[in-house]
Amino acid sequence: MPRRSKPSWSPIWLTCVLVGLTAAHAHAKDVLTVPQEVSLSADMSTQQLSISWLGGAAAAFDLIILRTELNETVFYETVSVMVNQESGRHQWNWTSVEPLQCTSLSIRIRSRDGQATSDWSNTQILQGSDLPSNAKSQMYPQDKIRPVGASTTFCCIVGEGKLFGNIKYSKTAMNETRLSRRSYAVTAVNQGLSGRTGTNVICSDNTDYLLDGTVVFVGYPPLPRDLVCVTRDLTSAVCKWTEGRGTNLYRKRGTRYSLNNRNCTVSNTEEKQTECSVAQWEGNWTLVAVNPLGRHVLTDSAELGHRVFPVAPENLNSTVRAWNATLWWRWKYDRYSSLALVCQVELTSQGYKTKRNFSGLGLRSVFLSDLNPDEDYKVQVRCGAQQNFWSWGSWSEPLSFKTNTYVPDSLDVWMWMNKDHTGQVIWKPLTRRQSHGPIRGYEVTEENQQPKLYPPDTFSVPINLTKIATAGGDNKVTATVIVKNDAGVSQPASVHIPLRLTDVEPHSVSRAVYTGRGFPLYWQRDDNATCAYVVEWYESFCRWDCTVGWIKVAAGNTNVSVESADFLPGVRYNISLYSSTSEAPELLQRWQGYMQELVPSVSVTLSTTQQDSDILLTWGEIPLVNRRGFLLGYNIYVSRGSQLMLLANVPDLGSRSHTVKGLSEDSYKFTVKAYTSAGEDTGATASIMLEPYTDWLILEILASLGITAVFLVIVTFVCYKKRKWVKKAFYPDIPEPKLPGGWSRSQGPLDVKPSPNSLVHMVERPEWDSSKEALVVIPEEDEDEDGQGFGDEPADTDEPASLRYYNHVVDERPIRPRFPDSSASSASSLDSARTDVTYTGIQTSGSSLVFLQDSEGHQPQADLSFCGGGGGGGGGRGGGGGGYRPQMQSRALSDDTGLASPEPFFEPEAASAGGYKPQSSWHLDSPVEAEESVGLVPSLGSPTSVASTQFLLPDGDERRQPSSSAATWFSNLLSSTKP
């Protein structure tokens, strides 16, 4: 808080001024009168000091007010004060900032005329409360009431012997100003609203001990508004107003009201609503509101007839019927009977309120029409003056009543037919407003049959027209339904049921679009048709005894909005337009629509198939009930990690497959999502592993085989065509042997009977059983005839074995030994005794080598057996050089590297001692043999050849039977081509 500025008027300075003034205006002293009889009058509550004096003719005076104790100037000004003609005194009022009790004040006055002044008057002192005689602590002002925003100065006079400590405004310590030895002042500026019990200002000593205190109340002056005076009894007046802003002042500091200068006994009727009554209507009213902070005046004026506020009707009662009722009541004041009134009746029924107005002189009753039967009503009545209407009066007490029952309204009947001539007659349940009372039951009559009664909760009855439909006759049956209640029966309601179903699907089904309130439907006007229409709807996937909704449309209309609270999102509805004639209803048009399309509730069933290097996706159809919207197509995705990448969109609903091409071998996961206008479903996912395409490999093999077959056929054909050349080139005629002895030229078996003493001495090897692996000589006839050979006979038998040869293969050339080192062999004796046959062109197949190198790696002992059989001795290794030697080719060493032979036994001698092979041992399908055959080309050109194809065939060749068969076939082919 700012300190009050202290004027620096010292007594010395003041004295100088006064002396100067006296000297300068010495001549004026004779003119100006020194003020006399200065008197003081203080109003402590307003802190106003009234100063009066006798001042002569002067009109201007210098006033100086000083705090007596400290001689501080509080006020020093020149004021113009006119003399009061009655008292002859001058009077001037001064309001002190500080309470006048705070300290003593000294007042002096002098007259002034321009620059001339009189001497000062005697000093008058206003005694403060800080005199030593008043030793107790005090605080001023007490119980001050201040407006919000004002500033107030408080002073504390500390008790004798006490030391000032501080002054707190509420909880805030203030900056003090010392007014005297014991008096201190503080100023609270811009004060805010105090509490209800005021704001405490506390003065404490230097020990913070409470010395004294005061309370200040900060509030507002009164500010009422909306003064209105009305009459209720047409005689007196009741004035009301609103208190407005709260003053924050209560009880004895609160606002007081006076109406037309009469204290008003205020009663608070509502929140801040106050009223005051006046016994007679005066026409003009003045309301004065006063509190310690100010006053406010409101006025109102009106004629009595313009301010009628009727009282509430009393004793409200009623007379009730089914469709109407009469209300009556009484008025509290008889003067109302001559007053033109307008009354308002508020009806409350089923939660809805309606108001109806009635008027009349002294209105006491009203007739309420258009009520509904069997319905509860609650009514209230209020009235106002019909002329110069001012306001509705008070509401009466509410009255409740219930109207009487009445016969029900006619039913709205329709039907549903199944495909098998069964169906239902259905009707809409009557609302409370339509039933006019509790329903007691329904009576349904099919044409020409007895009525059937049904309980009140029945809204459909089954019908079976199978017999009627087959009996022929009329094409419809009429069903009639009436409803009963306590008041009677309704008008009958009928529906025509077709005996022959004509519910043929129209050519096109339109789509109906829901617009928020319903399906707006439009159809073509048929000028010839004077019938009404029935618009029916049901869920599209329903097929049997469906729940049907319908509305009837008057003739001439060509549009309607189908609205139903039963429409559900995601359900497709069939909406049909029927003509409603005296005949059976006829389907005119059909729509389909959704109230709200949703995404499909289920996904398609997806399957994947690999087609070549492509993947075929196929999926099934979503059932109608699960589509929940018009399908717009399918989106095909492939999974890439956790994301789906759109591959394709299939907008064609008829197509439920898609081929994904250009994929590499990998695992794929495809997702197909059907979508409607609401979006996609969750999707069906299928995985597939794209594998290499093996069909091509198979095709290549087949093609190779085919080409080979064709080549063989061509070769065969060429060989057949050139068989002479082939025969000449590969199979030339072998000249018959010419014997010097003149052997018979006749052909036939040549029996060779070894001499009895020409036994073969078998040289046994201890590690090898020659009896099992002996090479036997198989006569060609035996093979052809009974398949028996010599192998069955022991080689060392005493019985002479007979070897048969075709004699035409005898070579005329002298026989020469092939191996000079075998001359010592005993076979030479055999040579001389038998036909010497030279084989020069016999081919040796690879299999013969196999024979030579059996799996056990044994030496081809067959040579020994053969030789033994042929009379050739020579056991032992490398001793196979005796006897006949066919044109066997030595195998290249490279061919033998793969054979499991522990010993290198491919000395020329050993190789040449291999088994014998007939010439037919060709293996065209063996590339090895082909090579060998190439290697044998020089020998093919040998002029000598033996035509035998089954000569000296070892057992080991049986495993090559298929090749041997082919060779046999080829050999036979060649044989067959012999001339």
């Binding site: 007490q142 909880k171 019990t197 405490n200 001990y209 205190g213 005061t214 004895k252």
Partner: protein
């Protein structure tokens, strides 16, 4: 501070005589002391300047025993007299405050009413304890409420006086609890209530 749950106060009735009547009076006095202390605390919270103030004025209610060493029953009779004056003071506080600011419904006003009713109840209890045929005790307030309040008679004086009355109530409620406990110990032969 949260308001504590207090038992429902009903109109004072005649205490049921019996061995536990003194004990009930002790408990009632202790409850009154607790409520008076709570009332003083609420007042300090409302009128902040009294938070640490101890008035230097003497007791409002003072007693002058007839004998220098009164018996316990006599002390209770004196206590009864002091409590009647306290009841008169709290009646006067309520009257003056409502005159000044009207009826209010705060915690302070609620507790103020509780103390008044509890004090009336305690007076009935002490009357039943020590009343004799020769010593008829009254339970009506012994205060006319016409004396000037402290200071200059302004609102601040009323607040100061109210504060002193509340201190007086705390003092005499405590005194009642102690005196009645002595009586209880004498009559029941035990210190435990």
């Amino acid at each position: 501070m949260a308001e504590q749950e207090e038992p429902q106060i009903t109109a004072p009735d005649t205490p049921v005589p019996g061995p536990s009547q003194t004990g009930r009076a002790v408990a009632l006095a202790r409850l009154l002391h607790h409520e008076c202390a709570r009332l003083l605390q609420l007042y300090k919270e409302k009128e902040t300047f009294f938070s640490d103030h101890t008035p230097d004025a003497g007791r409002i209610v003072s007693l002058s025993p007839d004998t220098e060493e009164p018996s316990t029953e006599q002390q209770v009779q004196l206590l009864h007299s002091a409590l009647r004056q306290c009841l008169g003071l709290i009646h006067c506080v309520i009257l003056k405050e409502e005159e000044e600011w009207g009826e209010m419904e705060g915690d302070y006003e609620t507790m103020r009413m509780n103390v008044r009713l509890r004090l009336e109840h305690l007076l009935c209890s002490t009357k039943g304890l020590v009343e004799t045929e020769s010593m008829i005790l009254e339970v009506t307030p012994d205060h006319q409420c016409n004396e000037e309040t402290d200071g200059a008679g302004g609102v601040f004086g009323l607040k100061m006086w109210t504060y002193r009355v509340l201190l007086e109530l705390v003092h005499w409620a405590d005194h009642a609890a102690q005196t009645l406990h002595v009586l209880y110990a004498e009559r029941e032969g035990t210190e435990d209530v």
